[in-house]
């Protein structure tokens, strides 16, 4: 099942890479990987915190936490980490509105923080997130979970948990939709050359 062959192309020229069912299965698999890799259900487990990067990292972090709770009965604290104030491209775009930063009450000090975002592309958002995290506390370690890795990294950054690797051209656009924000779940590929 090559991802590029899946799904129909919609009138806007977008091809569906993941259906709602695929999204749910992918998140469940990522949750299992997080449980395995962090042994967060072990008796002497050390604290793990999921931090979603606005906008669509936030619902993804919540869903991962919900799946982890379903599989292990462990409640992982979740929060959000806005990176706008730490971006390196602020002066190249119109003024951006800020997102919310809400850390769990337990904080991030000495916890294993898993940053959660929808798409990993240049890696610059994650670079900003690492800076923002440094100002929020001192985690024991930091990992990265993304639903889609579309390649084209501009920085030495890689994800620890990847839902789907999607080879793309730079001109293409990958959009992740979540029901909480967009009304439905999907991952779409927009061919940049179609108007």
């Amino acid at each position: 099942m090559a991802p590029r062959d899946r799904g129909a192309t919609d009138p806007a020229g977008r091809r569906e890479l993941l259906t709602p069912g695929d999204v749910a299965r992918t998140i469940a698999r990522m949750a299992h990987q997080v449980i395995e890799k962090t042994s967060l259900d072990a008796s002497e487990a050390r604290p793990v915190v999921l931090l979603g990067i606005p906008t669509r990292g936030v619902p993804l972090a919540r869903r991962l936490a919900a799946k982890i709770a379903e599989f292990t009965d462990v409640t992982v604290p979740t929060g959000t980490l806005d990176v706008t104030l730490y971006r390196d491209d602020l002066r190249r775009r119109p003024t951006r509105p800020l997102g919310a930063t809400e850390l769990p009450a337990s904080g991030v000090d000495d916890a294993l923080v898993i940053l959660v975002d929808d798409v990993l592309f240049s890696g610059r958002t994650i670079r900003s997130a690492l800076d923002a995290l440094r100002d929020a506390g001192r985690p024991r370690a930091v990992q990265l979970a993304v639903l889609v890795d579309r390649g084209h990294r501009e920085l030495p950054i890689r994800a620890d948990y990847v839902g789907k690797n999607v080879p793309t051209a730079r001109t293409e656009e990958v959009s992740v939709l979540f029901a909480e924000i967009d009304g439905r779940d999907a991952v779409l590929l927009n061919r940049g050359d179609t108007p």
Partner: protein
């Protein structure tokens, strides 16, 4: 946004965007040990104060520093202004020295607008931190932020602005901003301390009253203004005591306000004149919150002026 010169030019969307940014900054910095963001690294902000100020100058300086801008303070006393340099030459000098943003307070109404005209070619932005009796937009924004915190919103609320409206740039900016955001504003003052053409102001939702006691029970918030003796040349009221009796906010009047109503004062306060000790120190007063919000609002203003891509307009 290229400059911030007056609240009269702020539309509701821009004002709300600034207030939301201020809110976001406040939540981001809440409980943090290190209050430092890298957002404005490498940008230079110069404050240029031709009039005395504690809170405005300090909060602009803190706002700039918390966002990692380099902040330089120039005051009329210790600068070449004392040697007779004009406002224009001083401003062009500061721009040539590398200022990305000049924050100016000046005793002449319209000074910030003139400055913006002179500096438009060099790409330096101008923030009006108070010009004469004209405008003080960041004060209005921080008042609006405080009202949003305390009342949950501004749209549809009834807000009284009481006292020396004639000399108050805070009153002017607040009338513009609060009505833009959908509030009803009633200005309460003796006739001698009201601008003559108040009825002709092109704002909707503004009324005038001379009777404080009649208005108090209808208000969601009351903003007390300082009596600006330094701008008064002549008799505006018979005596300080008589002013306090008719227009001062004392404990008896505080009790006439609805339960939820909040008391604001832009500071500096003249205790015993427009506001009594007991009122200024009561939990109903949001005066120290106003100062704290001032830092976040000014950070937001600098963010909107300096962080985005260069405005070609």
């Amino acid at each position: 946004m290229r400059h911030l010169l007056g609240a009269d030019r702020l539309d509701a969307d821009t004002a709300l965007a600034i207030l939301d940014t201020a809110d976001g900054l406040k939540r981001t910095l809440l409980g943090r040990e290190v209050k430092k963001l890298p957002t404005l690294r490498g940008r230079t902000v110069i404050t240029m104060f031709y009039e005395n100020s504690t809170r405005t100058r300090v909060s602009f300086e803190i706002a700039g520093k918390w966002m990692s801008a380099d902040v330089v303070n120039v005051s009329a006393g210790g600068s070449s202004v004392g040697k007779g340099e004009s406002l224009r030459d001083t401003a062009l000098t500061l721009a040539a020295a590398g200022a990305d943003c000049v924050i100016v307070r000046h005793p002449a109404s319209g000074a910030a607008h003139r400055l913006a005209g002179w500096l438009s070619d060099v790409g330096t932005c101008v923030v009006n931190a108070g010009d004469g009796t004209h405008e003080h937009p960041t004060q209005a924004l921080l008042d609006a932020a405080t009202l949003r915190d305390r009342l949950g919103g501004i749209d549809g609320r009834r807000i009284g602005i009481v006292g020396d409206v004639l000399h108050s740039r805070v009153a002017r900016s607040n009338v513009h901003l609060l009505t833009t955001l959908g509030a009803e504003v009633v200005v309460v003052a003796p006739p001698t301390l009201l601008p003559t053409a108040l009825a002709d102001w092109p704002v909707s939702g503004l009324t005038v009253s001379y009777d404080l006691d009649a208005e108090l029970p209808t208000l969601d918030a009351v903003m007390m203004l300082r009596v600006q003796a330094e701008r008064m040349h002549g008799g505006f009221f018979p005596s300080a005591r008589e002013y306090a009796v008719h227009y001062g906010l004392n404990a008896t009047r505080l009790a006439m306000l609805p339960e939820h109503a909040v008391v604001l004062h832009p500071g500096p306060m003249l205790r015993g004149m427009e506001i009594a000790h007991a009122v200024a120190d009561s939990p109903r007063a949001a005066i120290t919150e106003q100062v704290a919000n001032g830092v976040h609002v000014r950070m937001a203003v600098l963010y909107h002026l300096l962080a985005g891509e260069e405005d070609q307009a």
